[in-house]
Chain length 292, copies 6
């Protein structure tokens, strides 16, 4: 008898009950201000992950030795942002209930809000580490509050001051930078400097990590809706997420804003895959199904 | 003194007060179920219209002889569908108040609803001619009522039965075809046959014409979000819109669903431009600024 | 508990035991003489099938009413043509053993040979209907016998004379056309004329149908490795496969030679999807899982 | 000893002294009003001709049986239109002196003027058959007389009235159509109708044939700088050039306006190749090197 | 009453009379030796500037606080290089007469000559700072003197020795490097080193700054006609232009050689936009309309 | 009399008998595991080399001063890997027999095996320097031994231990890294560090240099089948190949794995061209035809 066509991110084929981490995709891009298309990211990432190896020479670890379950993409009611966020929130809650780490693949950055809403219910004192080119701190964008340009502001409404650590930021409204400076968030402009100190400070705290891939320089990562030159290198980002995921208590995370159509070389998708691979390897503390 | 950089659709440079027709763009694509990107259509159409001639050998008329004003694109609150539609509705109302014909360039097909809402206020017994590959008659799409897959159903809620004439339809849910057959709309499958009879029947009535360019076969028009092979030819569509616009009392119209990124040859944009040129030439009954 | 990420062709989600037809992909393109890339066709077809409707207004049937199982793609040892063909042959045999219809999605056209090898074991008097732009009748191509340019010649070695019916052929070596004319195959140049007669003649006989999508004109189907202008229209092909599949005893079939990278509009993939949908609907004689 | 890397159009590898036809490319596109890029056409055509067969089932002839020499591309002083045209003219003259048929591959349509200047010196009563979407009859374009929009007007200055036969024309300034109607050229709008009569009339006369490939409908041929929907089909054009080349006394010809970058599927280049193959096969009256 | 469709570079919407800087585009690319297409740069830059923010965190300044007027693109007689240059020269003169800074957006690099001709009339002792990958110092290119490969040589004919400072140069004919070394220009190979000294030296002098964007490494800026790997980074170039524009007396400037079609990710256009934004912010010494 | 259309890599137009180096292309990509298309690299490299200058400011040398012969592309029996390798081996042997340096342009990396087989016959104690992102040390790939993923393992079977020096490696199976560490090859992960020492050690020894261009970071070189972020910069690679080629006794070399279709900007091809130019200039010890 032939088996069904299961399509996972490379090497993420644990049984759900054994999994330490659960992947899920949110193919949503309806609030973006410039160029849409991130909805196709989760699919592209799964498909092109087969161009990767399961083994990382950076961490000397292998995806085949860890326990990850890929639960596929959410079916989202495009056009109804409130319900989209609720659908994301529900899936995240289920994963939390089963004591696993939710790993969300966007979609645009607004999807983070769904996950963070679920996280904050479980972890009242949640901190957020935010790697991005953009501040995402607007009160609203042309009157719209649920916009990818406002997502961190919405998260701040849940966490309160001094809970959000932003790195790599190089674009935003003047007022957003000023608002951050008033003490609402820690905002490091242009680069990832100071991340070590932040990691030191947050040890043991529950952390949600949100990676907007446009934190990368456009030379590395052209495949995104709102390209911002002047960002960090692939190795800087890779080392940063390895540090964060291996040293801190990450209770949930996401990777967002890959827009595959704007990079037909597939390089941006390959980078997304590799960042996800390294995050998974750094997050997993236990050995895989196959090893015992 | 140097002048400002005014960018119009080719030859549409009348003064507003003289204009018989007013162009406006709705760069919106947030409810589409498959591939977004139609938001860039109005801009692409204006830019590439300069590859056209103002003269049509088909109608032996010239854009430089008619009065059209191009009012540019609306600024739309992406992510908030209700307000997007209100913004479109308001612009349409202004144009109606000034006794001009509103000519909307989408964007996805849902933008039609904004225009039709304005039209129905002025013309209680409005009829709609709808050229499309898709039925667009769903009650909702994954629970979302304001979706491009439901736009004609939403229009029907305004017009009632026997007011909507659909041509070229070749894709939809089974229940949509059946709902149409129950007498709610006139639905001609696959082609434009029977249009003559419809034109005969509707003479003198107030008509809104909505053209979803995916009514064209995909060989002619690959640049669209939801490609449906099996459609009509460019010449069939061009002749149809010339007939409709010259013989009927068109009180408003739109052209939607060009998605430029999916046709990097520019052919789909060129076709959109030519369809718009022929519609403008067929709609205008008076002579232009330059001629008197 | 969350479920696994099963990715099927649209609506093909029967249980294996109930299925009348079984889909399987052969992501192989190593013998092509010009431009490779068909290996990505099965994946692209599954992904983009979600831009389709399950309902066909052409046949008034719905994929949700029939029983099809999608068994995913074969894992093929690229670079070792003999073993690639054996892998295809084995999967086909399993499907035959379970009394289901194998429906293979290529890949390049050589994959057909794997299926036909399995078919001829079960059906000694097998006939083949072959829709293609190319003769595919070479004895060898630069000395290589297992080449996509030779696949029908290899099939003929299995079936013998008067068993292969070729339509739409418009490209080949002079000697190939002459070889066919010697009575080895029935070869209809340029178009599908005479298909009716062939269908009449073959009623009740076991038939394998192989569709090389480049039989379509390049205006409809640019996404292929060896584009040949001068082919048939989408509607001609669609009607032909509906006729063949509904009127004849098709014991196996395939659809090959979509090369997605050469059509970034996605139109060629959409056409492949629709041809497959119509073939599935025409092939299925029984009602689906859901119905009873 | 290894041989040099000679790159010819498929099968055009006669020795110069034996050749009946001589190919040469003019990689020039500096005067185009909209989108440049035709300079890469001759190279693309040679490269992709290897996706073709040498045999034509339409004419039952084979390139390997005729005598054609490919003399490669001219080195053109881009930016100096006068000298570009002189360079083309000189190469054409050499070919005429050696009593061979010059077959020019553009580049933009202005290159025709170089060839026609040479032709008119040898054939005082030259006639021109012109297949195109555009009139190309402007006196000047923004003051520029040597523009691709004026090329046929410049040719008319050499031939005088009643010598130019235009087919397929569907775009131009109103005044151009009127100027033609005054009796300067024969201009058939939209299609190739009436070509039979023209062929009948011109039998035995010296004819220069100039094919602007944008005479094709954009569904067949998207790869061109100024796309004009509403044109002729591939088979109509192919049959027309076979008729013209086999029945008339063609003393020189060209194929222009392929712009490869605007059709990344390669279909437009494939069409250019096939049109050229059919023209070569129809032009050659003698047998090839290989046959004697 | 509806307003006209004015399309400016982001935030450059001052009234002409108030403007300190005037933008103008020169959509010209007819003399390029390799790949044309820069004519579409000014349009692409205006359109995609809306993906930017008006605020620069690098300079802590905002486009909404300065006075820039965008006068749109010149209408250029493509194919007649002399007149193209005259048209550019005239527009530049008007801007000089009104005591504003001309900011030209190319097009190919030859457009600089039009501007420099106007500048040298007003500023006899003009110096030029030239950032580029290419020497642009040829006496002629295939006999053509008005070529993008000769533009700096042509400028030198106007300024004389010791007036031109070239940085980032990594490609050219051997003789060009030698000619520079003879003391005609200051030429810094490969990088921007020594720019500080140049700035120090030129303080207070009238300077024309010409930026050929291919000075950037191809990893940052693939969208150009003649890609030259081995260049400077985005941040190096951005910092350089900020230094030059804020510390020196720039009397005119340009940004050239973006070729949008060769970078369909839009990243190259985004970089052009950001470089222009930073130059505008560094150039403006007075406060904007809105602030007083 | 007109001359034939010879297409060489820029400036490589020596007579064969005078040539020190012989170029040849192997358009083969049938064993690649992920994305094929490298077969078009040799053609793309020749065509786009005309965007380069013959002069290198890095080495102050000029291609017009050295003796290189371009023998074009091999005609390879696609689909029959054994014969493909034999064809490559034979051409390499001819070049060795004539005491010239073979310079192979791939195609996929497996083509190296053909060249190395020829080299090892002549140079028993051959050493290989291998620049790559991938280990290429698998015993087999899905049972296939002649795969691009196994090419260096196959070479090792010919050279034995301690003869292969790998640099830049950042991807592979865990077991491949371990196998290398057992002393079979010298393997430097991630970068080119240690190359100086290797050069010092190998002085005077016969060396084959194989460059898989994916050793470059994907920001520089997106045009490859299996993109691996995290690689070396263009300048690092260029300096490395100049060092290796000028200081060591290179008896043969190759450059592989450019896949032009995945970088439509042409930047990857431009980089391949420049790396080849610098290698040629560094390899040549004698003066060219033109100089004596």
């Amino acid at each position: 008898m032939l088996s069904k066509n299961i399509v996972n991110f490379l090497g993420c084929d644990s049984e759900y009950k054994n999994a330490e981490i659960v992947l899920y995709g949110a193919p949503f891009d309806s609030t973006v201000s410039f160029r849409p298309g991130t909805r196709f990211a989760p699919q592209a990432i799964r498909n092109d992950s087969y161009g990767l190896e399961t083994y990382s020479p950076y961490q000397d670890k292998d995806l085949s030795d860890i326990n990850v379950f890929d639960s596929g993409d959410l079916e989202l009611p495009t056009g109804d942002t409130q319900n989209v966020l609720k659908t994301i929130e529900k899936r995240t809650e289920i994963i939390f209930e089963d004591n696993k780490i939710p790993f969300l693949i966007g979609g645009e950055h607004l999807v983070t809000l769904g996950s963070v809403r679920a996280a904050i219910k479980k972890y009242k004192s949640l901190n957020i580490i935010h790697l991005d080119a953009h501040t995402d701190l607007r009160e609203d964008y042309l009157g719209v509050k649920l916009s990818h340009a406002c997502v961190i502001r919405r998260c701040w409404e849940l966490t309160g001051d001094n809970r959000i650590y932003q790195f790599g930021i190089r674009s935003g409204d003047k007022s957003e930078f000023e608002w951050a400076k008033q003490g609402h968030t820690y905002l490091k402009r242009f680069c990832l400097e100071g991340l070590d100190t932040t990691i030191e400070k947050l040890k043991g705290e529950p952390i949600y990590l949100t990676v907007d891939l446009d934190v990368l320089d456009t030379s590395y990562f052209p495949g995104t809706g709102t390209p911002e030159p002047g960002g960090v290198s692939f190795l800087e980002l890779m080392n940063a997420v390895i540090e964060i995921c291996s040293k801190l208590r990450i209770i949930g995370c996401d990777v967002t804003e890959l827009c595959p159509i704007y990079d037909q070389s597939g390089v941006s998708t390959a980078i997304a895959c590799k960042i996800i691979r390294e995050m998974l390897l750094a997050l997993c503390k236990t050995e895989g199904d196959n090893n015992g």
